[in-house]
């Protein structure tokens, strides 16, 4: 019932803001040959998982790339992005990515895809992209510390998508004045849609009114999981000498994720603006959990909301974010208790993960940003406060 | 006494007229005949019961007495000279039920130790559809069919309620139980002595399904199929010759495993006994083809 409400709400939002505004984006080239490099490096005084143990949030089935941050200094994330333009309207993009954990750095050739766009009358742009790429339907499904105001991913992104939704797929989108509509099809290499398929649709609207800029978007994804597992701590992606105690839980079933995002900015001066952002999302899982030789039915309803506020003045930027999750699970069957107790689904305290992040960023130059963060969270049995100091480097080579 | 052993036949009218009226292509009618097939158990020429002194047994010509002598039989089929088959429908009685018959030659209680008489069964009773004068052979299988072999023995009805034929540790029945006490006992490899040389035939290597509680399969079914020629079924009987069964075994000394043969593939006594029944054991495929224990003879 709750799911239905949120879905209707999302649909309503798209329809309610139907007015046309000229989009600048339609006129900039889709592809420009060149190399972009981003790098985020931070020091943390605490980690949110004990060294050599697994990071699990009670009530959630984690996986994908949702690794905990490390105590001490380390590379959050580095991205090397190469684009080659055959023309302003078509080309390829290749992305390599590195991140570290438990004192090791790993590098992966993350994305490679082809994109093409056509312009038609009324400045309408039709775009097709295909290849291995990150999903574009939701801001929660694609996180890189070097490109985000925050050095840590959202809890919702970590729990719903395993930090990032990356897969082989096809994306089609239409840019129609202030509107962007799109749909994506995925073939089952991501964590969420393990061995299954996924499809999503999204729409967002950008507009302005006097000194106000605003955007509103809604998105929905359906994904199938076939024996989805948490392989963060074994298999091809192990950091350090983590003691593998991971259960061999497998989830097979349907996933539905919906969300709306809204942002409102008030340009208060030449070099200053104030903004608030809101993200609401809901993640539903319905399927079977198999753990060793037992099975139970799982129905999950996870809801997340993220509220943000920011203030920017020249090179200074203050951003605050509050995240809250509600993780509701029902396990059915004679093995329900055993499976629950043996896995991270058990949530005897009814924990609702919460996190508040306060970030100050100093944009020294287009190539360098300094970042200071203070984080207060309760995502496991105990509360934690930690602080982070780091920098982001950007380089563009044409 | 002679008459009692005689194969008795009686004709029962079935539906020959009806069949003819249907105008089917089959010629002639089918008669259903009740039939009794006597079974006699001997050791060489001695007819087996609790009081009989059996002689000339096995490779060391032992003498001895039975302690138990019973076997289950099913799938009895009479074979016609034209190659057609006439399945025998076993009558329902204390010794026969649901197609399984128990033949039992032990005529005293308490493994023959008692003076009290115990009932025996030395006949197969049933009916066949067909002309008995055409019968040129008989075929039957020893044992309890797989579908009935692993039921709840505690709840079973006669003749499957015999506790001395429960083979609980193999979750089934003993198909044949021929226990004989040779004079002088059986010397075991460890120099101790046992009273009886036992032959217990049954399915082995069974595994169960713990979720259903059912036995799912047995690696060795051990149900020998016996096929014999018949010339005059109305005047013939089946013969079980125990001496043939243990012809190549020494009853006075056991080489290991269970004393005698309890169907254990590694039991040194089992190979020869199984061979006599026309079966292989433990990959040893019936070295001397055919069985030697069962025969058909004409009643004098």
């Amino acid at each position: 019932m709750k799911a239905v409400c949120l879905r209707l709400l999302a649909t309503g939002l798209i329809i309610s803001s139907a007015s046309a505004h000229e989009m600048e984006e339609a006129n900039i080239p889709l592809v420009e040959t060149g190399l972009d490099v981003y790098l985020s490096y931070s020091y943390r005084n605490k980690s949110y998982a004990e060294q050599d143990s697994e990071w699990q949030i009670p009530g959630a089935l984690m996986g994908g790339e949702a690794f905990p941050v490390d105590e001490d200094a380390g590379l959050d994330n580095a991205v090397v992005d190469y684009q080659y333009a055959f023309s302003p309207d078509n080309g390829v993009q290749l992305t390599g990515e590195a991140h570290s954990g438990h004192g090791e750095t790993s590098f992966s050739f993350a994305h490679y895809w082809y994109k093409h766009q056509w312009r038609t009358a009324n400045s309408t742009v039709w775009r097709i992209e295909a290849g291995r790429m990150a999903a574009a339907f939701s801001p929660l499904g694609n996180y890189h510390a070097s490109r985000d105001p925050f050095s840590e991913a959202t809890l919702a992104g970590d729990i719903f998508f395993g930090r990032s939704f990356v897969d082989n797929g096809l994306r089609g989108s239409v840019l129609l004045s202030n509107w962007t509509f799109g749909a994506e099809l995925w073939n089952g290499k991501s964590w969420l849609a393990q061995k299954g398929q996924a499809a999503d649709v999204f729409a967002f609207y950008r507009g302005n009114h006097g000194m106000l800029d605003y955007s509103i978007g809604a998105w929905a994804m359906y994904a199938e999981s076939e024996e989805r597992r948490d392989i963060r701590y074994f298999g091809g992606h192990t950091h350090g000498n983590v003691v593998v105690s991971s259960n061999d839980l497998k989830f097979t079933g349907d996933n539905q994720v919906y969300g709306i995002d809204a942002a409102l900015f008030w340009r208060t001066g030449e070099q200053s603006k104030l903004g608030v952002t809101l993200s609401l999302s809901e993640f539903l899982q319905d399927g079977d959990i198999v753990e060793s030789q037992r099975m139970a039915e799982l129905e999950s309803d996870h809801q997340a909301w993220i509220l943000g506020a920011q203030w920017q003045l020249a090179k200074h930027e203050l951003v605050a974010r509050y995240e809250s999750l509600q993780l509701d699970n029902t396990l059915r069957g004679s093995a329900a208790v055993v499976i629950g107790r043996d896995t991270s689904l058990d949530n005897p305290e009814g924990l609702e993960p919460e996190r508040t992040t306060l970030t100050y960023r100093y944009h020294y130059s287009p190539a360098l940003t300094l970042r200071l963060e203070w984080i207060d969270e309760s995502i496991s049995d105990s509360d934690q406060q930690r602080w982070v100091a780091g920098f982001v480097l950007r380089g563009m080579f044409e | 006494m002679h008459m009692a052993n005689r194969l008795k036949t009686s004709l029962t009218l079935a539906f020959p007229l009806l069949l003819a009226a249907c105008g089917g292509s089959s010629g002639g009618g089918t008669t259903v005949n009740d039939i009794e097939i006597p079974v006699v158990a001997r050791a060489n020429d001695t007819v087996i019961d609790c009081d009989a002194q059996l002689t000339g047994l096995g490779t060391d010509f032992a003498s001895g007495e039975i302690r138990g002598f019973a076997l289950y039989v099913h799938d009895v089929v009479l074979l016609a000279s034209d190659g057609s088959e006439m399945p025998l429908t076993l009558a329902e009685n204390d010794w026969q039920s649901e197609g399984v018959a128990l033949l039992d030659f032990q005529n005293k209680l308490d493994t023959c130790a008692s003076d009290t008489d115990k009932p025996t069964n030395k006949v197969l009773q049933g009916s066949v559809a067909g002309n008995l004068s055409d019968v040129s052979g008989i075929r039957f299988r020893i044992g309890v069919p797989a579908a009935m072999n692993h039921g709840d023995t505690a709840a079973a009805n006669t003749p499957l309620n015999r506790s001395d034929l429960f083979w609980s540790w193999q979750t089934g029945y003993k198909f044949m139980r021929f226990d004989v006490a040779p004079q002088g006992g059986v010397l075991k490899p460890d120099a101790s002595s046992a009273e009886t040389w036992n032959f217990h035939l049954g399915s082995t290597g069974c595994t169960g399904n713990p979720q259903t509680g059912e036995t799912v399969s047995c690696s060795s079914e051990n149900r020998p199929l016996i096929e014999l020629d018949v010339s005059d079924i109305a005047n013939q009987q089946l013969v079980i010759n125990y001496a043939k069964l243990i012809e190549n075994n020494a009853l006075l000394s056991d080489q290991g495993g269970a004393v005698g043969c309890m169907s254990g593939p590694t039991d040194p006594e089992c190979a020869a006994v199984f061979d006599a029944l026309g079966m292989g054991i433990a990959g040893n495929d019936d070295p001397t083809p055919g069985q030697t224990v069962f025969s058909v003879e004409t009643v004098e």
């Binding site: 939002l13 | 308490d110 290597g205």
Partner: protein, 390 residues
């Protein structure tokens, strides 16, 4: 344009309220076995119920009938032996003899096992992949001839039944346990079913270890806690064969997708250098006849292990320390006597029995942990005690 913003803002506010008023985080368990749990199983909610044969559902009347039969010497050929003669409550329903003795004095090839939690056994006895229900197993002690245990035979079974049928206590118990009971009802089918229900009801999850796992503090000694770490370590590998809530990999319950029936050769013997165990008891090879099944036995539960000495299928080890030292050595090397041979070199030895380093102090810690698996309530609980002495 203004009203757009208002609509967006109000929608956002509405969304907040939507999220704010839902129930919050919870993981709830709907096992659907509430009806089945009304029987006094002595099994906590966190443990799934055992598999119960459809034709013998549990109920209290059947349990009580079974309890009377379990303790009744008259349920034997010569009136000298009951189930309880070899399965004593104060020893967690095992006994102190190395090998049991039947009603006619015959020595059994094997040590009497604890009956606690055997409702969770996928296979019964020490080594028999064909025995998958307690009902099937009970026929062996009642009617078995090789060896004779309770010694009921074709000749005396009518007399045994008559003795039971004449007892007015049983007449009441049978009438309560079996709907529509008649004089015909007092038969071995119902005796076996009631015995099975009693044994199926002897469950133990009330040890100090269980209290520790349930979050109670101060229930395990420091030594037991150190022993626990050792037990679950990859170095000792204990939990590979003695894992799970019943401390054996040979565990079946109603929640499993499939049930495994594991057996292990632990290198106790190697008489001929080719892996042979003493002929009297060789493991599931006796059933399967597969040469590689030599010496393979079921791993028993370790619950209440401290009170079930002696150990192993033939009772050939007197103490837990001896058992641990044998596993530390990777098997047993017998240097003289008829069973001489180096079990450590048994070709069929299980891959997890490879030996480990352990200090004397650690052995004592491990024993302290094993002692924490004893459920003292069970050993004296009136629920499982001899009803004829009440």
């Amino acid at each position: 344009m203004r009203f757009h913003i208002i609509r967006v803002a109000s929608a956002a506010l509405f969304s907040f309220s939507l999220l704010a008023c839902n129930g919050g985080s919870e993981t709830r368990y709907l096992t659907g076995d509430e009806a089945a749990r009304t029987f006094s199983w002595n099994i906590p909610q966190r443990v799934p119920l055992p598999i119960v044969p459809e034709d013998n559902p549990v109920n209290e009347a059947s349990f009580q009938l079974g309890r009377h039969l379990f303790y009744d010497l008259r349920l034997s050929g010569n009136g000298s032996q009951a189930c309880a003669s070899c399965h004593k409550q104060n020893m967690a329903f095992a006994e102190s003899l190395e090998r049991s003795v039947g009603s006619t004095g015959e020595l059994h090839p094997r040590n009497a096992q604890s009956l606690v939690n055997i409702a969770f056994n996928p296979t019964l006895t020490w080594a028999n992949p064909s025995l998958v229900t307690i009902e099937q197993q009970i026929m062996i002690p009642l009617f078995g001839e090789f060896p004779v245990e309770q010694g009921i035979t074709e000749e005396n079974k009518a007399a045994v039944l008559a003795t039971i049928a004449e007892d007015s206590t049983y007449q009441e118990l049978f009438a309560a346990a079996i709907p529509g009971a008649t004089s015909e009802t007092i038969n071995f089918e119902n005796i076996v079913k009631a015995l099975a229900t009693f044994v199926r009801g002897i469950n133990s999850f009330g040890s100090d270890f269980d209290r520790f796992e349930d979050g109670e503090s101060g229930v395990l000694t420091d030594a037991a806690l150190r022993g626990r770490e050792l037990f679950f370590s990859e170095n000792l590998e204990c939990f590979h064969c003695h894992g799970g809530y019943n401390f054996t990999d040979s565990t079946a319950d109603s929640s499993q997708l499939f049930v495994d029936t594991p057996f292990h050769n632990t290198g106790l013997y190697n008489i001929d250098g080719a892996g042979a165990y003493p002929e009297i008891s060789q493991g599931i090879i006796e059933i399967t006849s597969k040469p590689s099944d030599m010496g393979r036995f079921r791993a028993p539960t370790l619950r209440n292990i401290a009170v079930t000495a002696p150990y192993m299928h033939d009772g050939s080890m007197a103490t837990l320390e001896e058992v641990i030292r044998t596993y530390a050595a990777g098997g047993r090397n017998i240097t003289n006597g008829p069973y001489a041979g180096d079990g450590r070199a048994n070709p069929f030895r299980d891959g997890f029995v490879t030996g480990f380093e352990i200090s004397d102090d650690q052995i004592q810690d491990l024993i302290a942990f094993l002692e924490s698996l004893t459920d003292y309530d069970l050993l004296s609980s009136p629920r499982f005690a001899n009803p004829w002495e009440e």
